[in-house]
């Protein structure tokens, strides 16, 4: 049976079922648009689900990337309101292990003040009372409102709520080409791997929210986006060593964070660059680095039983030829390809991080609505999300 929708609401197709795509599906659905999201595999199977689950306070970026830091603290506070019950709200510590760290700590503390991140200096003894497994040689610590979330279950709440507002979420539907007429993208073609049958969906706007795959999807429309897949190795160890998120009090480096997760501890992360986000690998020396650096923060890391090591590809915005990805900003960018490349009906959102997925979606939805002439305000700032289980049962 063929069902032709003749609704006046414009139809947006989102390519990519990560956190950004989910938040965008919700944002657009709440603004009254018709939304179809297609994802190659299971929802959150790309970068989103492999995240360590840190809800950034923004302190990590406060010194070098105040723009990202401000985004983070704003989203941090907002997400706790719209997704209650999805966070371990135990705060985080930046731990100083030597005089160099402590000097960085002074800059960090000041930068937190400037970007509006609540921060508090703790003595070594105070920090050890909060987290007895910390390296006892620490010099001091700064408490910041970091939190943790489940890298899959928080985004699922966007998907669940989007579905409840009429968005059609289609996992296992791989986009193989974009339908382009006269420099105008009018839909997507692909294959539903549940049935192994081809599909074709027409759209008023196609949004490319495929994270590190953004370059590949954009190429289907003949445009280039400067996305650099930059993977990092993460290490999961058996045993919960801390309740708070433990960060190293120095500029961003390898193995400088320990995130508690249920009865596991996650040590992250490293950074390098690849061309194919599907083929990452787990370099052995990076794993060893996680043990070494993680043990500097929490000595128990060194002898903790191994659970798994894996890689996740960040979708960083930058020019080709970056060395490690560390020098690239963690902020996000929305490309309207009409303005940039003269291709109508096609928008790419990329960059960013788990904490700012909702803000990325809001910015993108603003662009989409402006292009479609839809005048509707963003409602994801105050719409309390359905539980993640509703994604499966809705």
């Amino acid at each position: 049976m063929t069902v032709v929708h003749r609704s006046p609401a414009p139809h947006v197709v989102i390519v990519g079922g990560g956190g950004t795509g989910g938040a965008l599906a919700l944002d657009l659905a709440l603004r009254g648009l018709r939304v179809t999201l297609v994802e190659r595999g299971e929802i959150t199977s790309g970068t989103t689900g492999r995240h360590h689950g840190l809800l950034h306070s923004g302190a990590r970026y406060a010194v070098n990337d105040p723009e990202s830091a401000a985004e983070c603290i704003q989203e941090n506070q907002l997400l706790r309101r719209v997704a209650p019950g999805s966070f371990e709200e135990n705060d985080g510590l930046f731990v100083g292990l030597d005089e160099e760290d402590m000097a960085y700590g002074e800059k960090l503390f000041a930068a937190c003040g400037e970007t509006g991140i609540p921060a508090r200096w703790l003595s070594a003894a105070e920090a050890l009372r909060l987290e007895p497994n910390l390296n006892p040689a620490l010099k001091g610590a700064i408490q910041v409102p970091d939190a943790t979330f489940d890298a899959m279950r928080l985004p699922l709440r966007w998907f669940a709520t989007a579905k409840a507002h009429g968005a059609l979420i289609q996992p296992f539907c791989e986009v193989t080409s974009l339908i382009v007429h006269d420099k105008c993208v009018t839909g997507v073609r692909g294959r539903d791997h549940r049935t192994e049958r081809d599909f074709e969906i027409s759209a008023d706007i196609v949004v490319n929210a495929s994270g590190p795959w953004a370059e590949k999807v954009a190429a289907m429309a003949g445009v280039d986006v400067p996305i650099q897949p930059s993977p990092g190795v993460l290490l999961a160890l058996r045993g919960r060593f801390c309740n708070m998120v433990i960060n190293r009090m120095h500029k961003s480096g390898d193995g400088d964070i320990v995130v508690p997760q249920r009865a596991l501890s996650i040590v992250g992360t490293s950074s390098w660059i690849v061309d194919d986000p599907d083929d990452l690998g787990v370099p052995e020396d990076h794993v060893q680095k996680m043990y070494e650096e993680g043990a500097k923060l929490i000595p128990a890391v060194r002898s903790a039983p191994f659970r798994q090591a894996w890689s996740a590809a960040r979708p960083l915005i930058g020019s080709r030829g970056a060395a490690t990805g560390r020098e690239l900003s963690r902020t996000f960018k929305c490309f309207d390809h009409m303005e940039r490349d003269g291709v109508e009906g096609f928008v790419t959102i990329s960059g960013g991080k788990g904490t700012t997925a909702r803000a990325m979606a809001e910015t993108t939805a603003d662009v989409v609505c402006r292009k479609l002439g839809v005048d509707a305000p963003c409602r994801t700032r105050d719409t309390v999300l359905l539980p993640h289980t509703a994604y499966y049962t809705a």
């Binding site: 049976m1 063929t2 069902v3 032709v4 929708h5 003749r6 006046p8 609401a9 414009p10 139809h11 018709r34 179809t36 059609l168 009018t186 839909g187 549940r194 049935t195 599909f199 074709e200 969906i201 027409s202 759209a203 008023d204 479609l372 002439g373």
Partner: protein, 142 residues
């Protein structure tokens, strides 16, 4: 605003997939407690079958001493004594597992349930050996 169409939504309902009773025959990956579950059902059915057989045989008592005693001689045949051992094994498995289930399912001995299972298994084997010796010694006792 231009009108566009979404492709029709079509999906066959997911295919039902459940282990079912035949799944009892799939031994891959089964652990001790799973075996206890299957054996409990199998021995239960076996013992129930025996119960009705037994009740039917007992009707010979109503027919008087001669027919009953004739039957007795027949039952002293070693084949029946071996079957008696099988019956005892079934009763032991079902009975001991029943005690285990009752204890565990009332919320007792839950944390040590595996030790309990192993202990009962050991007891069962010992009693079975004693019973088998007792029964099979009847082969010569006739």
């Amino acid at each position: 605003m231009s009108e566009r169409a979404v492709t029709p939504a079509r999906q066959a309902p997911p295919r039902g997939r459940r282990r079912g009773v035949l799944g009892w025959l799939d031994v891959r990956g089964r652990r001790l407690g799973g075996w206890a579950f299957i054996l409990n059902r199998v021995t239960g059915l076996g013992v129930l079958f025996y119960l009705y057989l037994h009740l039917i045989v007992l009707s010979q008592l109503a027919a008087g001493p001669s027919s009953w005693n004739a039957l007795l001689n027949w039952f002293l045949n070693p084949i029946f004594l071996v079957l008696d051992v099988v019956l005892l094994a079934g009763l032991l498995i079902h009975g001991l597992n029943g005690i285990r289930l009752t204890l565990v399912e009332f919320g007792l001995v839950v944390s040590r349930q595996k030790a309990l299972l192993l202990a009962f298994g050991t007891v069962g084997v010992i009693v079975l050996l004693i019973g088998a010796l007792r029964f099979l010694s009847d082969v010569g006792a006739k």
